[in-house]
């Protein structure tokens, strides 16, 4: 009788080099540190965090218990060639298996160059350009109707004339929003015109005008697999915010309509990658305010309640099995706090002179 073949497979994992941008943990924090912290909590990944900074003074460059080695990147420019060249340098000289870009301005470049990066052994897990454009502030009307969620009355304007006509329709106060960033509440037409000019100068046309809706500010962080399935999501309500409108304390919630709309979004648009859905909830009505195509700065909140989305993203990017997301509990509290560290000038000197930390 032949002896039973005993096959044992022992997989050794040396760990992934994971590039993380948005490590500017300042008063308007980038999402990077929360993402990096989440990845380190999945010890099976053996994540080696590579900090991708745009300034030598980004706090993440010095947070060596979270970020390993950091590199200074060129600012994301129109074609992104310099950015890609820098990533390939990091790949050759240090190691870079996957990048999680966390800043809005970077995303079009990473999406554009994703196939080329993949050919060079640098993976990403991002929406395609069509999906990215679809969730633009000027296209939210299409999304809202398809995912069964309300949208505050919205007008896209390209001139002061159009702006004034839109104000007549929407009334005052009104939200005046840039195509990529920034939103201001205007109480008079003159104030709205001033905001319009500021936004055009900074972010270009068009500008979005939106009716102000009352209610609680609730958000969802989620991750889509690109095939219409959710890899996990967590809903929260902001309990207090900073002067810049950033969350300082929050609580997990399970608002059925908001979570259903988020599921619909992933399913309907086959969203691939992380996203943040910003909503205003007023009783039974849920208004869609914005969809950000990246992790929010508070994404560690989801990890803290058991749903480690960055880890699930990396596992999916490497075609590793991703189990169904566990359920999270409503009523868990998020409290941000300030912290200081004192260090010598080594990292700063090297980052400034050589563009990378030791």
């Amino acid at each position: 009788m032949p002896e039973k073949c005993r096959l044992t497979v022992k997989r050794t994992m040396n760990g992934f080099y994971i590039g993380i941008s948005g490590i500017n943990a300042v008063d308007n924090p980038g999402p990077g540190i929360g993402v990096a912290r989440s990845l380190r909590e999945d010890t099976d990944l053996g994540a080696k965090i590579v900090g991708l900074a745009y300034d030598a003074l980004e706090p993440g460059v010095y947070m060596d218990w979270i970020v390993g080695k950091s590199f200074i990147l060129p600012y994301p420019s129109s074609d992104g060639d310099a950015l890609v060249e820098r990533l390939l340098y990091i790949k050759r000289n240090h190691g870079l298996d996957v990048v999680i870009p966390n800043l809005d301005a970077e995303l079009p470049l990473y999406i554009k160059h994703a196939p080329m990066l993949a050919d060079n052994g640098i993976r990403t897990f991002l929406p395609d350009m069509r999906q990215f454009r679809l969730r633009g502030k000027d296209r939210l009307c299409d999304i809202a109707s398809r995912i069964n969620i309300s949208l505050p009355l919205t007008k896209v304007v390209n001139s002061v004339d159009e702006l004034l006509r839109a104000i007549e329709e929407l009334g005052l106060p009104v939200m005046v929003k840039g195509i990529f960033y920034k939103a201001s509440k205007s109480y008079t037409a003159a104030e709205a015109v001033a905001h319009f000019h500021e936004l055009v100068a900074e972010w270009g046309y068009p500008v979005i005008l939106q009716q102000v809706v009352a209610g609680d500010e609730m958000n969802v962080v989620g991750l889509g697999d690109g095939e219409g399935n959710s890899l996990g999501m967590v809903g929260i309500k902001k309990l207090s915010i900073t002067a810049l409108g950033k969350i300082w304390t929050g609580v997990t919630v399970k608002n059925a309509r908001m979570l259903a709309a988020t599921e619909n979004f992933i399913h309907e648009f086959k969203w691939r990658g992380p996203f943040e859905m910003e909503c205003i909830v007023n009783g039974d009505e849920v208004f869609l305010i914005e969809i950000n195509p990246r992790f929010p700065a508070w994404s560690y909140f989801a990890t803290g309640v058991g749903i480690n989305l960055p880890s699930r993203l990396v596992r999916r990017a490497f075609e590793m099995p991703v189990p169904p997301p566990p359920r999270y509990e409503a009523g868990k509290l998020f409290v941000r706090y300030t912290y200081e560290l004192v260090t010598d000038m080594t990292n700063f000197k090297k980052a400034v002179t050589r563009g990378e930390t030791p």
């Binding site: 609680d216 929260i236 309500k237 609580v251 919630v253 608002n255 059925a256 909830v281 409503a330 009523g331």
Partner: protein
């Protein structure tokens, strides 16, 4: 009643609504009334129970329960 059923209520009177993220503090009596409502009792049954437990007239008990229910409605909990 559907909203009431989803509330998380602690023994100390801390009430959390998982759908809205709102939290409230209720008194011991309020806590007992909430428990009664969750168990499907109507305001008359709850008022009679208050009458047995506290030195209060039926008229006052009915009014207090009605006031408390109005507060719950105003807070979006009913």
């Amino acid at each position: 009643m559907q909203k009431l059923a989803r509330l998380a209520i602690s023994e100390e009177g801390f009430v959390f609504d998982p759908a809205s993220g709102d939290s409230f503090q209720v008194s011991q009596t309020g806590l007992e009334i909430l428990a009664g409502l969750k168990n499907g009792k109507d305001d008359g049954e709850i008022s009679r129970w208050l009458l047995e437990k506290y030195e209060v007239s039926m008229e006052d008990a009915l009014r207090d329960v009605a006031d408390f229910i109005a507060c719950l409605k105003n807070a979006g909990l009913l």
